[in-house]
Structures are given as structure tokens and as C-alpha cells.
Amino acid sequence: MMVKLETKHFKMSDYGVLIGFIVLCVAVGIAAPTFFGARNILNLLRQSSIIGIIAVGMTSVIISGNFDISVGAIAAISGAVVMKLLGNAVPLPLVILAGLALGLFIGVCNGVVVAKFAVPSLIATMGMTTILNGAVLMVTGGYPISGKYDLFDYIGNGYILNIPIPVIIFALAVAGMFFILRSTKFGRYIFAVGGNEESSRLSGIKPDRIKIMVFAVSGMLSALAGIVLSSRLGTATPVAGAGYDMDAIASVVIGGTSVLGGEGSVLKTVIGVLFMSVINNAFNLLGVDVYFQYIVKGLIIIIAVGADSYSRKKAMLA
């Protein structure tokens, strides 16, 4: 039985993930009543926030028609540099500024390689990942850098009005990106370039500039995530951030942002991030084997993207 739910301004494809998410939450809540506890929810949000911050930047990159897989490596190097600087008694505001500036700089490099030298973004950022992996080993010497700094510690572990600070940072990043995409010229141009680069260029947009800016934003948010992570753990390890790239991309596409570019929304990404976290959380609450979790996560990514591209293919052939 198919019920026709679609009207002009309501498309199943736009809300499918949200509905799926709600169904998932209800199901998990019934199976494991502790799920809806305030403590569990806050925990869940805090777990989501680091990937979430990265996924916010990734959303704009993917809308522009690109990928950034160097995000995990940027988080790692920024975390390491921040811990190292703190160890050398550099004042905290300066340290954070340096961490963010580093992420911004790496992002700009990514953008320049992609825009000016026309290297496919997947390859460009893959190369950058390898460079950064080497750099982070050089900075850390291959060992974790640990340290306890009261104020810094607060970023990853503190609360404001009972809300974990990482969650607040995530929320601010979402709000900022939402504003950029919806209400600024830069945001509109990201969609235009991702939708059709040639049309954009003939409309006086400079696609190169837009791409560089998008990668810069992604780099800076990745660095922010890295800072939050090292604060949360009180340590920076060379392998921090491994796998974050794929988790962030997965969150964006599960949320429903098209991998083809030109369409998407940061709010969808929030749903995607939470979706992934709830599944993780549910598996843990229900005591499912960790190895099995990977298999299910992989299937969800393929199904989410598959459903989108399959409907597109059908529409093309129709």
C-alpha cells in the first residue's frame, strides 16, 4: 500500500530522514527505557558534538560539490599543537587562536589546490591527510601529549546552565552555518557553484574564491573540533581524529545533503549526526557487539545514499 504523501512543499525525500530518526528514537526508547533519561541524552549530545562540529563544515564543502577528507587529520594536528603550546606556557587565548589559524591555513591550502590546480578534492585532501599525519608525528614525536590546564579543561568538560560546553559550541557552529547558507551572498554562491559552476561563473561569481573559502571554513571548524577533543581527553594523540572524515561525510549524506552538490542543509546534517549517535548509543545500551556496529553503520550509509541516487536515476529515466 502506497500512500501519496507528497505535496508541492512537502516532499518525502526532505523529511524521510527526520521521520526515520523519530521512529528510531521511539523504538530505542521502548527497547531501552534509559534512552530518554536526561543524563543519557546529554551524554549523547556531547558525544555527537565533535563529529557534529566537523560535519557542519563538511556540509558546506559537499554543497559546493567537493569533499574534505583531511578533517580528521586537521583535528589531530590542531589538538597536538594546542597541547604543545600549552605545555610551553603560552596564554590560552593565544593558543586557541593559533589552533584555529592553523586549521584555517590548512583549509586555504586545500582550497587553493582544488580551485587553482583543479585537483579533484578527494585526492587533494587525501594528499593533505598524509602530509598532516606526518606532521602530527613530528609534533608529538609519536607519543600522546598530556597535561592538565584548568581553564582549557573546562572547554571539553565544563557546563553552562547544565549544558555541556561542547554541545554549546556545536550549536553555535550550526547556527553560524545556518545563517551563512541562508542569509548571505557567500552561502547562496556555495549552492550556485555546487549546482552549476559554469552558470555561476557566467553570473559573475568567482567559483575559485568560493571553493577556497569553503575549505577554509571546514579547516577552521575541524581545528575547533580538535581543540575540543584534546580538552575533553586532556591529551592529544597522533591517532586522534582517525575515522572522523568518514563519520562526518556519512552524517552529512545520511541527513540528505546530495553528494552531487548544489543542495542540502545544515539542519539535515544535525539530524544525520544525531542519527549516527543514536544508533551507536542504542547498540551500547542494548549491548550489541562492536564489530557488528560497523557493519550496520556501513549498511545505513549505503542505503541512505542509495535511496537518494536511485530515486534520482529513476526520475532521469522516467
Partner: protein
């Protein structure tokens, strides 16, 4: 002589539109036949039917005197018909040999028989007098050599009929001579050739007979000796219809300084030494065949392509334009040739497409304001009579004509000096065409200088104050649009010019 191919009462329609109407067409074995006609005359459709690419709606085909059905390109090849397309169908990454035997590789005991293939290839090469090593990758060959590979392939398939669709467009003079020799030797082997070209000199050089098409019908078949270039231009133009148009009203003001002066603009391989002036309120038509370089010229003026040489003056002052953004800042607009890939972002909403050039004016408290954007779009919809149910739908959902009007709507909010329409009427209905013409005239009435490109010469005559004739990347002459007919234009853009200085005629 015996008949190789004969088409009887062939009709082809796409939906309600009849593209071929009762076409009778027959070929004698061993002749070289020129197939001529303006863009849209039906040449390509006819070729596609002969080549099995599309089926006819009605009518019969006879091959060697027997009724035949050509159901697919492969079927056509089996029946001895090969087409050398304008865009060659060789695969650049593969070697000559791999391309040559693609889809019909010789095998021995289930393995590729490379030795055998090389031997066969070399035989054909020497038979045709070519010297193209089999191991070279096709991407390393010149266009001319790639063409030779295709021709050899056709010959090696024992093709009786070889159709060449504008084979000389990317060839140098020497390569052309080479091709003509090949055609002569094919003819000597009693092969039959259909030769499509816009270059009339070539037709006189290689063809025995000429078939002229116009509006989906055959105008006539003529031995080449009975024709000259002017007569062919006349036949291709047909009788001009002088009725049914709204009258063009000129807003040109020739007393003022020209808005745009283009001096000796060149782009190696695309166009050479193009100069013209454009006055406030003037509509300057660009007449020329597809591939003559019209789009390339305006794209260079707009900064979308680099030009290698030349100067552009805006209001009498030199003006450096390196990108579309520069052009737009200087008040030059372009409605590009292909609305789907160059004019619009199809997956975006209608209003977002319409406002993309004017986002600064869409702000309220420094933020983009949806209401302002919708207002802008509503006004444009009304002004340009765009048929749309909801401007928040995607632009993809609109018909071709309405999509084109959205591209025009983008420029309504701009303070323009020059607006270029590049083939704005392609694939849109008559009503929408007339709307586009009057839009161009409205811009002109406001003092904007307009360049209007169309392959339909009647349209150029309909809107232009003056007309620039372009042939093979060169500006042949500029004429005032007074008492001109399609035949005049056809003559100018088709016939090799003896006097190229464009003096008064």
C-alpha cells in the same frame, strides 16, 4: 549506373513537429553527393534515418533495389553504410589498432589475434595509401588523422555508402586536400559518398551532384555543373516570408559615442581580427552558420574566454575584461548559448536563479531577504510574461521558453550598457520567441546596446538595426538592415568572399 539507395516519401515527426516531409532521395553507385541546407533544414535527421540512428515515421527505404529496414547503427554498418560523424567516435585513450577493430576484434582460439589484426590493418593502410602506425594512441593523432582512421574503418567494413558530416571543420588546408584525394580514390573504387558541408567551395571541388534541403523538404537535385555558389545560396534561402512579424522599431542613436568598440579581436583557431562598433539603443544582429565563431566572439567580449589579441573600448575608454565578473561590473551582460548548462542552476529554485546577479539589492539588515527576492521575481514574471505556477519551485520544472525568460530576468536588476543574446530562441515556441524579441527591443529602448545572435536568419532580420556577417571566424561585413532578405544574408555568410574589406555593396 545502378541505384544504391533510394528513399521514398520519408516522413519524420517529433511529436506534432514534422521535421521531414515526403522526402524522396536516391543515390547512384559511385557518386559523391553534396547534401546542403541551412541549420534546421533536416539534413541531420535524414542522415540519422539512413544510418539507423532513428526510425522514420513513414516511408520506405530501398537498398540495392530491395526493400530494407535499417534498425540500428550496427545494422546500418552490416548493410554497408558508415557515418563519419562531426564529433568523431574514436576513443582517444586506445591505440589506432584497438579503435580500428573495436567491437569486431579478430580472435584465435578465444584470444585476441593481435598478429592477424596488425596484418589486416597494414594491408588496408597500404591499400588506401595511408601511413598511420597502428600502435599510436589516438589522442596523439591530429583530427585529420583520426578522421582517416575512421574512413579506413568504414572502408574495411566494406561500406558501400560513406556519409561525411562536415568533415573539414577542424582541418587545415593541407589536410583538406588530403581528404579530397581520399574521396576521389573512394569514388574510383565505386564507393558512394554523401558529403555534408557549409563550405561551398569544397562542394564544387569534390561533389558530382547537389541536393538542397529546406524546411524538411528536398528543394531539388542538381548536377554540380548547373550551379554556382550564389544560386546555391538562393536555393537554401528559399522564398522569404515577409509577413507575420511585428515590425521592428529602431531605438539606435548613431549620433552618440559608441557604447562598445571592438578592435581587432582575435582568438587563435576560433576567430581573427574582428572589429565592430555598437551604439546606444542599437540591436546588432550576428548572422553566421553554426561553428562560424559567433558565440566565441561574444564570450571573449564577456570575459568568459580569453582572447589572444585585440582591444575593447567601453564608452570610448579602453576596458580590461578578464572575467565575467569584470564584464558585469562594467555593465556588460550575456544570455549564454545553452540555458541549461550555462544560464541556470537547474536544481535551484526559480527565484534564486532570478536574483543571483542582484543579491546586494536583496538585502535587509545585511541579510538576504526572501520577501525581496520573491518580489523581484514576481515583477520579472509579470514583465516578461513567464508562465509559472510557483516561483519557489525548481527552475527545472519550467518549459524551455520560460526557462529562457528566467535567464533574461537575471539581468533586469542590473544597470546594463550592453546585453548579448546568444541563440536565445533555440528550442522555444513561437510565442516565447516573439516575447524574447520584444524584450530585446525594450532593453534597446532604454538605451542598452544589444547584440543578438541567431542561426535563424529571419529572426536576425526581425530584430536587428544592423547585421554583422560572420564566416569561418572572420567578420565579412556589416550591413544596415534595410531591404535585406534571407537570401542576401545567406549569400554573405555562405559564399566565399572575394572582397573581404566589407565596403558598401
Amino acid at each position: 549506373m545502378n541505384k544504391l539507395l533510394s528513399l521514398k516519401k520519408i516522413c519524420k515527426s517529433f511529436g506534432p513537429v514534422g521535421v521531414l516531409k515526403n522526402v524522396d532521395f536516391s543515390l547512384e553507385r559511385g557518386e559523391v553527393r553534396a547534401l546542403l541546407g541551412a541549420n534546421g533544414a533536416g539534413k541531420s535527421t535524414l542522415i540519422k534515418i539512413i544510418g539507423g540512428v532513428i526510425p522514420q515515421t513513414s516511408g520506405e527505404i530501398e537498398l540495392n533495389g530491395q526493400p530494407a529496414q535499417i534498425v540500428s547503427p550496427i545494422d546500418a554498418q552490416r548493410k554497408g553504410i558508415s557515418i563519419i560523424h562531426q564529433e568523431l567516435s574514436v576513443i582517444p585513450q586506445l591505440t589506432v589498432l584497438e579503435n580500428f577493430f573495436l567491437g569486431r576484434e579478430m580472435t584465435k582460439n578465444g584470444v585476441l589475434d593481435k598478429k592477424g589484426m596488425i596484418q589486416r590493418y597494414n594491408e588496408i593502410c597500404s591499400e588506401m595509401g595511408f601511413d598511420i602506425p597502428w600502435r599510436v594512441r589516438v589522442r596523439e593523432l591530429s583530427i585529420a588523422k583520426r578522421q582517416m582512421v575512421e574512413i579506413m574503418k568504414a572502408v574495411s567494413c566494406d561500406s558501400e555508402l560513406i556519409i561525411m558530416d562536415e568533415p573539414t571543420t577542424s582541418l587545415t588546408d593541407n589536410e583538406k586536400k588530403n581528404l579530397f584525394q581520399i574521396i576521389h580514390s573512394l569514388k574510383a573504387k565505386n564507393k558512394t559518398i554523401i558529403y555534408i558541408s557549409h563550405m561551398l567551395e569544397e562542394v564544387f571541388e569534390v561533389c558530382d551532384n547537389v541536393t538542397v534541403m529546406l524546411g524538411g523538404e528536398i528543394v531539388g537535385n542538381y548536377p554540380i555543373g548547373e550551379l554556382d555558389q550564389h544560386r546555391i545560396a538562393e536555393l537554401m534561402a528559399g522564398e522569404t516570408l515577409a509577413v507575420g512579424h511585428d515590425q521592428h522599431v529602431s531605438h539606435a542613436d548613431y549620433s552618440k559615442t559608441p557604447v562598445l568598440e571592438v578592435k581587432n579581436l582575435s582568438h587563435a583557431g576560433k576567430f581573427q581580427d574582428v572589429s565592430f562598433t555598437l551604439y546606444p539603443g542599437e540591436i546588432l544582429g550576428f548572422a553566421g552558420l553554426v561553428g562560424a565563431g559567433r558565440s566565441e566572439i561574444v564570450r571573449s567580449i564577456f570575459g568568459a574566454d580569453r582572447c589572444t589579441d585585440g582591444e575593447i573600448l567601453l564608452d570610448g575608454k579602453p576596458c580590461a575584461i578578464h572575467s565575467p565578473a569584470d564584464a558585469i561590473r562594467n555593465g556588460i551582460g550575456l544570455i549564454p548559448e545553452d540555458r541549461k548548462t550555462q544560464g541556470l542552476v537547474l536544481k535551484q529554485e526559480i527565484y534564486k536563479n532570478a536574483t543571483i546577479l542582484s543579491l546586494d539589492a536583496m538585502k535587509k539588515n545585511h541579510m538576504l531577504n526572501k520577501k525581496k527576492e520573491l518580489d523581484y521575481t514576481e515583477k520579472a514574471v509579470e514583465k516578461l510574461t513567464i508562465k509559472v505556477s510557483d516561483i519557489q519551485n525548481r527552475v527545472r520544472s519550467l518549459s524551455g521558453g520560460n526557462q529562457q525568460k528566467i535567464v533574461v530576468a537575471k539581468w533586469l536588476g542590473k544597470d546594463l550598457r550592453v546585453l548579448i543574446f546568444d541563440e536565445p530562441t533555440k528550442g522555444i515556441d513561437v510565442r516565447a520567441k516573439e516575447d524574447i524579441f520584444s524584450t530585446a527591443e525594450q532593453f534597446a529602448a532604454k538605451g542598452v546596446a544589444v547584440i543578438f545572435i541567431s542561426s535563424d536568419l529571419e529572426e536576425v532580420l526581425r530584430v536587428s538595426d544592423r547585421i554583422v556577417m560572420i564566416h569561418s571566424g572572420k567578420l565579412i561585413k556589416v550591413r544596415k538592415n534595410e531591404n535585406l532578405t534571407v537570401a542576401d544574408l545567406m549569400n554573405d555568410i555562405l559564399v566565399k568572399q572575394t572582397i573581404e574589406d566589407g565596403g558598401a555593396k
